[in-house]
């Protein structure tokens, strides 16, 4: 029965060959499907029957091969209509032309991108599908990053470049063209020399020199120079470039940045600084004039007046003596005014002379200075234990002298002045909102008196220079006392406030930074 044996051998060969073919197909990295057309009554392709799919499809998706073989393609996977693959398959079968495509599939939420190839084979079409989902994701990320980079360049007014030193090619981002005045990138062929042609004639020589030097040493470039754009506008450009070596030789990668505004603002700032220096010098000159040239003749007048008074006091009539007294008190007032103006203008000069100052000692010294006035008025002055602060001793003395002096001065009739100096500690958030003090702990010093007080609506005005609430004949003063206090406190990084009601005394509150943080 040789025929039978041969037949069996033949069948077994065939089975082996089928198995071999299937194994081979399954080994492929790509999905391979064989589709046969299904015609309607008029002979047009209505659908395809899925005849074969290799098992690669099960690895990429959750689909099962045995659930799809023999089914109509459109029934099984209608999305091939929407993504156009069905029509391409139809065309491929009718024309016999091989078709390549990229299509997106969604298998119940699993998105897969395929790069496909449709090939006509006998009575059907073979669909080769390569899973390119990862590549697509990378491509998308790259697109996003490129977009971000371009957006960032646009926002920061920066353009980027990449210069291949070996080939001499230069690639520029859109913003570089924009910076040079082009509306479209195609209007300009980017080369190193072409870029240099935009550099201002005053800068071209040294720019070329710096770039040539850096090319030979492979040293980072960081220069700012002027360019003249296509529209004739002069701009300042900062260029930073870094060298790196790749398989294609040396490259320079870097940025162009339009720094025109910064440079212009810098030069405005420099001009303002120069102005400020000049006005400071003027102020210093004024100080000198005030300290010497104004005081000098005044001192002489006072000296002559004192001589005149000594010599003539016995012989002068009452009227002349009254005149002379008024001249003497007026000159004394002027001397006070000049000396107060001077101390006002000098408060900020001593910033670096801050030392630890014990306010209890300051108070003792000030009360000694005011001794005569305290005796005259029988004033009662009581104080809490005061803290140590960081400050300028003589300015603290002046602050205490002015505040306590005011309490002794602005007193109704024969009232006995009572001054209470209270101390407590506070945090910045508890301080009146008008202050812009830095964070931290503060000493709160309250100078409370029983004097004539003031209308609370003048609470801020009283600290202004030459602000007086009373006529000179009612209460003496130069209108500078509280202005000096405010400037001293502010020079010590503190704040001062005044609150009061008419005839109910005043409270001046001084905040000074605490030594302990």
């Amino acid at each position: 029965m040789p025929d039978r044996i041969e037949l069996r051998n033949r069948i077994s060969e065939l089975e082996f060959s089928n198995l071999f073919r299937e194994k081979i197909l399954d080994c492929s990295n790509n999905v391979i499907a064989y589709l046969e057309p299904h015609f309607n009554d008029t002979g047009d392709i209505e659908d395809f029957i899925i005849k074969y799919v290799n098992n690669r499809i099960e690895e990429i998706t959750h689909l099962k091969i045995n659930e799809m073989i023999g089914l109509r393609w459109l029934d099984y996977d209608p999305q091939v209509i929407d993504n156009g693959v069905f029509d391409m398959a139809k065309k491929c079968f009718s024309t016999g032309e091989t078709t390549n495509y990229t299509a997106k599939f969604d298998f119940e939420g699993l998105v897969v991108w395929f790069g496909g190839r449709l090939v006509k084979l006998e009575n059907g079409v073979v669909n080769f599908l390569k899973d390119i989902t990862k590549e697509k994701q990378y491509e998308r990320q790259l697109q996003i990053q490129n977009k971000l980079l371009l957006d960032a360049e646009y926002v920061a007014n920066i353009g980027s470049f990449r210069w291949n030193l070996k080939k001499g090619t230069l690639s520029l981002s859109d913003n570089v063209y924009k910076l040079l005045g082009y509306t479209r990138a195609s209007d300009f062929e980017p080369t190193f020399e072409a870029i240099l042609s935009f550099v201002h004639e005053k800068d071209i020589a040294w720019v070329r020199q710096v770039i040539n030097d850096s090319k030979s040493k492979k040293e980072r470039i960081d220069i700012t120079f002027k360019v003249v754009t296509t529209t004739g506008e002069v701009k300042y450009v900062n260029t930073i470039g870094e060298y790196y070596l790749s398989d294609n030789g040396w490259h320079v990668v870097g940025v162009f940045k339009d720094v025109t505004k910064q440079i212009e603002q810098e030069s405005i700032l420099q001009a303002k600084n120069a102005e400020l220096k000049k006005s400071n010098a003027d102020l210093e000159a004024f100080n000198r004039i005030a300290s010497h040239d104004l005081q000098e003749p005044l001192r002489k007048i006072q000296m002559f007046l004192s001589r005149l008074y000594d010599e003539e006091k016995e012989s002068l009539g009452p009227k002349s003596k009254n005149y002379l007294d008024k001249v003497i008190s007026s000159t004394e007032r002027m001397r006070n005014l000049i000396s107060n103006l001077l101390s006002y203008s000098r408060i900020e000069d001593v910033e670096d002379k801050h030392i630890k100052v014990d306010l209890n000692e300051i108070l003792t010294d000030v009360l000694e200075d005011l001794g005569e006035r305290i005796c005259e008025t029988k004033a009662k002055i009581k104080a809490d234990k005061l803290p140590e602060i960081n400050g300028v001793q003589f300015q603290m003395e002046q602050l205490f002298l002015n505040l306590i002096g005011n309490s002794l001065k602005y007193i109704a009739g024969d009232t006995v002045p009572v001054v209470h100096i209270k101390h407590s500690k506070t945090r910045v958030d508890a301080i009146h909102p008008i202050s812009n003090l830095p964070d931290g702990k503060y000493h709160k010093l309250e100078f409370i008196d029983n004097g004539i007080g003031f209308d609370d609506q003048y609470g801020e005005r009283i600290f202004g220079i030459f602000q007086r609430l009373h006529g000179k004949n009612e209460y003496s003063g130069t209108g500078l006392g509280l202005a000096i206090c405010k400037k001293i406190v502010e020079a010590h990084n503190g704040a001062i406030l005044g609150t009061s009601k008419i005839n109910e005394g005043a409270v001046f509150t001084v905040y000074l930074p605490s030594l302990s943080k």
Partner: protein, 146 residues
């Protein structure tokens, strides 16, 4: 008792007159020599090796050579290093005062605005100067600001 020899260097004629009158007024057995700028003061002191004044009052703001320059030049001379110098100026600037002490002045007097105050200041300084010359205290303690 020998008279204290005082040298006043000031370009202001009125101030020299006030000074001279006040000095007579305090009756402290002194004799006064007056000069009107730093240069003439320096020339005078270079000639007076044997007969130096006991105390100099030096104005700051003067023509030809001002008080600062004069003070510096004086302290450069070996025989004048210990000579008591009182600055006598209108300036009340802390910077000026500090400068003069750094340059070797012993006393700083801001010119007073009344004749009585001037007499008081002179009395204080002259008495202190006597004590200094009697070796009652050391030179480094001979510093005063009025």
């Amino acid at each position: 008792m020998t008279k204290m020899k005082i040298l006043l260097v000031d370009d202001d004629e009125d101030d020299r007159e006030f000074f001279a009158e006040a000095l007579v007024g305090v009756k402290l057995n002194t004799e006064l020599k007056q000069l009107n700028n730093g240069k003439s003061c320096l020339d005078y002191l270079m000639q007076q090796i044997e007969n130096l004044p006991n105390l100099i009052f030096l104005d700051l703001n003067m023509p030809i050579m001002n008080g600062f320059e004069c003070l510096t030049e004086i302290r450069k001379q070996q025989h004048l290093k210990e000579l008591p110098i009182a600055i006598y100026s209108t300036s009340s600037s802390d910077k000026d005062i500090e400068q003069t002490f750094l340059k070797g002045a012993n006393i700083y007097i801001k010119k007073p605005s009344s004749f009585e105050d001037l007499k008081k200041s002179l009395t204080q300084v002259i008495k202190m100067n006597w004590a200094y010359h009697m070796d009652d205290f050391k030179k480094e303690n001979f510093l005063l600001r009025i």
